[in-house]
Amino acid sequence: MKGKYIASVFAMILLCSFVSAGFFDFIDGITGRASSQPTNVSVSVAGTTKAQITFVSSIPNIDANESSYRVVEFNVHMYDADGVNDLNDTSVFANFTREGEAVRETNSYCSLENDVDANTANYSCSINMWYWDENGDWNVSIRGKDLGNGSEVYNTSTTFQYNLLSAMVISPFALTWPTVSSGALNQTSDNDPTLINNTGNYNSTIDITATNLHGESVSSQAIYAENFTADVNTGSSIECLGTALANSSAQTITGSVANRGNLSAGSGAGQEQFYYCIPEVPLVSSQTYSTSAEGSWIISY
């Protein structure tokens, strides 16, 4: 009995709160609440609504850059009903496509520029278009996703026009012949071919507009443009059977093609070469003949 009494008293002591308060402390507002204390709270919101790509800025007509690339910049807006915090800011990618052409795409994700409002964010994208990319309409495709739903969403509503760039680099830009004599047959240039690098996206034949060569001592004497031929091939004087040139008139060189492509690939893409011949040297006086009187020959697209 005595043991039970001692155990009960001991239990009561353990259950008692160890507090101390003055008699009138209730006036000061003892409430039983915990005292206030600043606390950092982190809350992750994971919405379930899919994001939407609601806007793609229009892209004006783009000029290709000769022998280089053009950076095409544009902005996209991604919207999420669950708020901008639910948008995955590193998920927005873009590409340009055109049938038969290599896909051009962002090197990395489109970067977040700013929040447009509580539900929409603005991203900046840039894609490089190369000089040999085909002229015409290109499709713009954007993809992105949010954090909560995680589904990838697309916008393929935009296109832009990549302009035609007719451009070339020729080398050398002066032709020479060894000393030749009147009546001589199949006299070929001694510093051809003219190498024509296509530094744009033009893709068709190539012309030469020749001029008459006048004597530098007796200018009334001339070797007419019609005495020259040009060809894309050489060997066994085959260029002497090539396309006959004409004075001040563009002549398409048979078999020529601008052959647009990546010049750095080294596969011959983007390159053409011309070889020249005088099939029969006309009867003219002995002197030097040149284009100084009538102007340069023009290689053109």
């Binding site: 850059n65 007719s166 003949y289």
Partner: protein, 168 residues
Amino acid sequence: MKSKFLHSLVLMTLLSLIVVSAFGVSSPYWDGNPLELSAGDKEIVTLNLQNIANANDDVDAEVKIIEGSDIASLEQELYTVKAGSSENCFLTIEVPSNAKVGDVYSVKVETKTITPGDAGMVSMGTGMTTAFNVVVNGSKETNGAWYYVIGAILVIVVVYFIVVAKKK
């Protein structure tokens, strides 16, 4: 027989002077991608002259309209394009006000580099021909007038039905 060996063409082999000539012209219209305008409309087409590739020297270029000068004109024909840069050439297209829908005008502009025809050799330059069609489509005024006519007809029909309904 020296006379049989007329030295008719003596051109210096200046291999040490092998250099390149680079030039380009960009256009928003081409064969297959026509410019569409209404009768009486005017548009300025920008041709971008480029001297970017391997450009160590400035390039002088001449731009000429070789076809379509009845509707096309140039502000300027001679350009100097600085090394590594580009210049815009403005081509004004003005469709006659009496042109008919479906009329097609052909425009051809030739741009070529001006290279001196150096003595003692056959010098070479580059050229680009920009060719495109200008197609005359329905005039904007006509389209606008049609909208007004259709709107007026709709209003008359609605009013008619309201009046008929009230009479019943």
